[in-house]
């Protein structure tokens, strides 16, 4: 009897090994098709000069897998993608899916509900201190074409209340494999921004909302 029990336990463990599956979502930033390395210089045809990115961090929320119009939540509600650390999300999911949905940014309720830990801990550098609210998207860098202080550009995008509510929905059709690469083509973003005019956003504003919408619109699955 005991022998039968151990065989059953062994088979069930083996079964879970066979059926459990890890799905990986890897986020990358690109410049003209090349994977961006922070601190490395790239050439901008728009600026006719060099551009480099020193910091890129953003939150995604409410990640779901979509299959046949059905959505299933995946992983933590809020995930910080920090390009100085890790931008890969490993999910224990055996669900077959044809698309993913997520929101770029942190919802209003979380923004007004006090202190949280983990990815939302204010020590990760994504919370304003002089006013309340998460910085949903942070992109910093420099370009020799800029005449601003230290030739730097800084975009800290956030805002949780009308009219500066700064959350954008992203829906992507995915590849049929367990690893999908989600690409943020920064060259496309910088085609929409005249850096000589707009090189700093540091508080909630309509410009921040507009830029977040642009970012959400250019995020794509790498083919």
């Amino acid at each position: 009897m005991i022998r039968v029990y151990f065989i059953l336990v062994f088979l069930s463990a083996l079964g879970s090994e066979v059926y459990s599956q890890t799905t990986t979502l890897k986020f990358i930033a690109t410049w003209q098709g090349e994977s961006v390395v922070l601190g490395k210089q790239y050439f901008s045809t728009t600026l006719k000069d060099s551009i480099q990115f020193d910091r890129l961090r953003f939150y995604i929320s409410d990640l779901t897998f979509v299959n046949d119009s059905l959505e299933k939540p995946q992983g933590k509600q809020h995930i910080l993608l920090d390009f100085e650390k890790s931008t890969t999300i490993n999910l224990d999911s055996s669900m077959a899916f044809e698309g993913i949905n997520f929101k770029l940014g942190i919802d209003s309720i979380t923004n007004v509900s006090g202190a949280f830990g983990g990815d939302l801990d204010p020590t990760v550098g994504m919370y304003w201190s002089w006013q309340s609210g998460y910085v949903n998207f942070k992109l910093e860098g420099k370009s020799n074409a800029l005449h601003s202080s230290n030739q730097k550009f800084q975009f800290h995008l956030g805002g949780y209340s009308f009219p500066n509510k700064n959350v954008a929905r992203v829906s992507l059709k995915t590849n049929k494999n367990s690893q999908n690469i989600i690409e943020l083509p920064l060259d496309l973003l910088f085609k929409e921004i005249d850096l000589s005019v707009q090189n700093t956003i540091m508080s909630p504003s309509l410009k921040a909302v507009e830029m977040t919408q642009t970012i959400a619109g250019i995020i794509q699955i790498q083919k």
């Binding site: 006090g114 801990d121 201190s129």
Partner: protein
């Protein structure tokens, strides 16, 4: 026998150490509204309150260990900074606002004179990061606390884990500040039927209800809304209040209505600390210039004779809560002196 008594004392002190504070039930009068702070996200606990109290009084939150929260929020000033017009900070810097007194924070919907902070838990981030207050940042503070055996031990007591995080630090600070409840002034005692107002105080109460209660609503003596106080812009400070945060012209010069409790201990008054005497404030609100501005903004005129003003001040003095101001539970914790001596 002696051994039994010692064991009894140890058990008693252990029980006391783990005693939960029944904050929501016992600590405020029934005529107070329901608190706005969501205690279910940060349940009150004696060890967390104690940790928050150490953090509140320790300069470790500032870059050079020189400025604690209590530097500008002293218990004897109802956790404000009496006799100081503007807040003081690191390297003898001077801020651009008067440090507001701290009490009854669980009932406040927003924090700071400009209402820029939406939750008590997140308020400490502002002074910690301010160049003219503590000159640090939350990540550095967490590292300093993690490197300090005194605090590792107290974080363990509070959270059953010695790991210091931003969330834990902020929630512990909130817990101590949530215990700062002012609800035993003469006004409160009268409400509870324990004492009676004098004739002057009663007259002053009626004058208050007619002229002041719409903004300084009892029993908290503030609606905590953002309002114009119609004082002229200080040309040096150039503080536009909420307008500077929202960038809306309609929010320009709006400041949070302060509570009128504990005025005796928390002078000077207004967001820039320009008035040292209550008489000056009454003169301001009854002046011809302000009355015209009230009229232009559809507000009710305030007419107060000299006698009315005296009676009103008599009533305002009933809002001073000495028991709160001199409460030993809120004072500097002596264990910090031992810690500092050992360092």
């Amino acid at each position: 026998m002696k051994l039994k008594f010692t064991a009894f004392l140890i058990i008693l002190s252990a029980l006391f150490a783990f005693q939960k504070i029944e904050y929501q039930v016992d600590q405020f009068p029934d005529y107070f509204p329901a608190p706005l702070y969501n205690f279910s996200n940060n349940p009150m606990d004696t060890n967390k309150v104690n940790l928050g109290r150490f953090l509140f009084y320790d300069g470790i939150l500032s870059k050079d260990n020189s400025i604690s929260c209590s530097a500008c929020h002293s218990p004897f000033s109802a956790f404000g900074h009496n006799d100081h017009q503007l807040s003081h900070g690191i390297h003898d810097s001077i801020g651009n606002r008067n440090a507001p007194p701290l009490f009854n924070l669980a009932w406040q919907p927003n924090f700071m004179w400009d209402g820029a902070v939406n939750h008590l838990d997140m308020q400490a981030l502002a002074p910690i990061s301010s160049e003219t207050e503590m000159g640090s940042n939350i990540a550095d503070v967490v590292k300093r606390l993690q490197d300090d055996p005194f605090y590792r031990k107290r974080f363990y007591r509070a959270f059953q884990d010695s790991t210091v995080t931003g969330e834990r630090l902020l929630k512990a600070l909130s817990q101590f500040q949530l215990t700062l409840i002012s609800a035993n002034s003469k006004y409160d005692q009268e409400k509870k039927g324990q004492v009676e107002f004098t004739k002057e105080e009663l007259k002053g109460y009626k004058i208050f209800q007619k002229n002041c209660n719409s903004c300084h609503q009892e029993p908290l003596f503030s609606t905590y809304e953002m309002k114009q106080n119609f004082i002229a812009l200080d040309s040096n400070l150039r503080d536009y209040g909420q307008g500077a945060i929202t960038k809306n012209a309609t929010d320009s010069l709006l400041f949070k209505v302060p509570s009128l409790r504990n005025l005796e201990f928390s002078y000077p008054y207004m967001h820039d600390g320009r008035y040292y005497e209550l008489e000056e404030i009454l003169q301001h609100y009854t002046s011809k210039t302000v009355q015209e501005k009230f009229k232009a903004n559809g507000l009710q005129k305030i007419n107060l004779s000299a006698k009315d003003q005296t009676d009103l001040i008599a009533f305002l003095q009933t809002l001073n809560d000495k028991e709160f101001v001199f409460d030993r539970q809120h004072r500097f914790p002596r264990e910090l002196l031992v810690k500092w001596k050992e360092e």
